[in-house]
């Protein structure tokens, strides 16, 4: 990460100092208008993935930890949310909470194992643990194996709002997404977030300054897993489905791809990346397996040609933070 002199100091203009606020207003406005223009179901799915990518980005972008197993938290939250709504008849708010708690617990266990090693090993450990939980999901009775959990009832939120109505569901997902997004923004810009960035830049230095970096990393990991869980649990209610796809390794790869395309360590990058990748998958669905090849090619070209990602490049050109 390069240290550029803060452009905010040099040229104080409204656009530069308020770039993140302006970006947030534009994003919110676009998401409010969008369901009247295009498919609400697609948008809801995209928002879930966008939140998932933002949660993942909290680790890779701000602590420098590459988790290659984030499907674990997304997928297991999705399972528990779907199961509690269907089998136990939980209302949606409790179902999402159940899924999220599951993800938090998984994050606590997996995180405390993974942070014992650094760098490349961290990525391999998170991937291996996720694969283990994939096999549990494959064998466990309640997950429905290959079929997954289908026809999950959307239910009535707080006993008031019937989520069968597409627009009510949309509003709920929008609130969850924006809430998660702002929460992540708050984390990044808090003193705690500053310590995370210090660990990313130079962990040894952070340790020598007296920070217990392992604890910070673990808390960041659990937060990231929990938010990925919120995304997965909400997705299960929206699509009324939890399946093996959500918990398998290609899902972990996909969230990496979304974040990479949008821009690692940018606030809006994961959102843009998630929408871009989902639109691509949607448009390219007819050509079948070539989607995999195209995703691979995007990976390779992102790593070789534009490591900052779409939003990262824009922010860099305009000397603003996004």
């Amino acid at each position: 990460m390069e240290h550029v002199a803060d452009p905010l100091v040099k040229k104080p203009s409204v656009l530069r100092s308020q770039s993140e606020t302006i970006g947030f207003v534009i994003m919110t406005a676009a998401l409010v208008v969008a369901p009247f223009v295009t498919y609400p179901l697609f948008l809801m799915q995209a928002m879930c993935f966008a939140l998932f990518a933002c949660a993942f980005n909290l680790l890779i972008g701000y602590v420098g930890l590459l988790s290659f197993g984030h499907a674990l938290y997304f997928g297991w939250a999705s399972y528990l949310s779907a199961y509690s709504a269907k089998a136990w008849g939980f209302p949606p708010e409790l179902a999402i909470l159940t899924g999220t708690a599951t993800a938090a617990l998984c994050g606590l266990v997996a995180g405390s194992l993974a942070i014992r090693r650094q760098g490349i090993y961290f990525a391999m450990i998170t991937l291996a643990l996720a694969q283990m939980m994939y096999f549990f999901a494959l064998q466990a009775k309640f997950t429905g194996g290959e079929d997954g959990i289908q026809a999950v009832p959307r239910g009535v939120l707080f006993g008031l709002i019937n989520l069968k109505n597409e627009m009510s569901m949309y509003a709920v997902v929008l609130v969850i997404f924006l809430g998660g997004f702002m929460f992540i923004y708050r984390i990044i810009h808090s003193p705690f977030g500053e310590v995370l960035k210090a660990i990313r830049e130079n962990e040894a230095r952070a340790i020598s300054l007296g920070y217990k970096t392992d604890r910070y990393k673990l808390v960041a990991f659990v937060l990231s897993a929990t938010l990925a869980g919120v995304a997965g649990a909400t997705k299960a209610i929206v699509l009324q489905l939890a399946s093996l796809t959500d918990v398998n390794w290609p899902m972990s790869g996909e969230v990496v791809l979304m974040t990479l395309v949008g821009g690692l360590g940018t606030i809006f990058g994961p959102v843009v990346g998630a929408f871009a990748i989902l639109v691509m998958q949607f448009k390219l669905a007819p050509i079948g397996e070539w989607v995999l090849v195209i995703q691979g090619a995007i990976f390779v070209s992102c790593v070789l040609l534009f490591r900052r990602g779409v939003i990262g490049e824009i922010a860099n050109k305009l000397h603003i933070r996004l």
């Binding site: 490349i120 291996a128 694969q131 096999f135 549990f136 995999l292 995703q295």
Partner: protein
């Protein structure tokens, strides 16, 4: 036939054999990963895909030129190793100055491309590859039946593993390699072409994967996804063993294969996950891995 812990001996030894076979592949693949990591500081995520490419190359050689298993065992690793050299020259070379994670991401992308192309042309269903004539049949050892081909796989991978260990740890070439791992700049100053050595190391690591792929072809079917799930288990093996030691990679590979085989006998539900559970335990007890040094 006799029984051990209430398990018929044939079942026990049969699973032990399967464990050794799986262990052979774990050992060969984690060895390749360790060799590549030592030199390039990159975790080669496409290792599984290159293993798959080895098997497909053998299949295509048979289909289009009629050359059987034995020529394929030599030709396929050379071809796939050559593609590895191209990958290193074109892509990986540009990443050495960056964070290691980019190497992982790039090779992951390559793995998706390779697997996707294979799926497009060959479909997801497996293609058969027959056991070579000379290795059909088997030996009755009294307590179990040992198919010749399986005995060959275990023996061949042991020889390759020990051969690689010998070259790296006991020869002059290996000494250069190890020196270049420690301090490339200094080794370059002695007039050794380190960049070329890096390229060839990657090619060698990749051809090891392809070699394993050819050997796997008659045992498992040849299928596009044969590498992707295997490579995740191999990652766990590598975390358990630590990549600091070549011998460690080999021992851990075979050891975990056997443990997995035994789990299949005594507690079949856990056979898919036992390697990951062991990884978790090792991380708790010895975070640096069994043979690893604390970085």
């Amino acid at each position: 036939m006799f029984e051990i812990f209430g398990i018929p001996s044939t079942a026990l030894f049969g699973q032990l054999l399967i464990g050794l076979i799986n262990g052979s592949f774990y050992a060969l693949l984690s060895l390749g990963l360790a060799v590549i990591f030592g030199m390039l500081n990159i975790i080669n995520f496409s290792h599984g895909a290159q293993y798959m490419m080895g098997a497909f190359t053998a299949y295509l050689i048979l289909k289009y030129s009629g050359l059987g298993y034995w020529p394929a065992l030599i030709i396929a690793p050379i071809i796939v190793g050559f593609t590895g050299i191209i990958v290193e020259r074109l892509f990986l070379q540009r990443l050495y100055k960056l964070d290691h994670l980019y190497g992982l991401l790039l090779t992951f992308g390559l793995a998706l491309i390779f697997e996707g192309v294979a799926r497009n042309y060959f479909g997801s269903a497996g293609l058969p590859y027959t056991v070579p004539e000379s290795l059909r049949g088997g030996q009755n050892l009294g307590f179990m039946f040992l198919p010749n081909y399986r005995a060959w796989v275990i023996a061949a991978s042991l020889v390759i593993c020990i051969g690689t260990w010998f070259v790296i740890e006991r020869t002059r070439l290996g000494a250069y390699l190890r020196a270049a791992t420690e301090n490339p700049t200094l080794v370059r100053a002695f007039g050794i072409n380190v960049p070329r050595m890096i390229t060839l190391t990657y090619g060698f690591g990749v051809s090891l994967a392809a070699f394993a792929g050819v050997m796997a072809a008659p045992i498992y079917n040849v299928s596009p996804q044969m590498g992707s799930e295997l490579i995740i288990v191999v990652f766990a093996v590598v975390v358990i063993g630590g990549m600091g030691s070549i011998l460690g990679a080999i021992v851990t590979g075979f050891g975990l294969g056997v443990v997995e085989g035994l789990t299949k006998v005594f507690f079949p539900e856990a056979s898919n996950t036992v390697v990951f559970v062991i990884m978790a335990i090792v991380l708790l007890v010895r975070p640096a891995g069994l043979f690893g040094r604390r970085a």
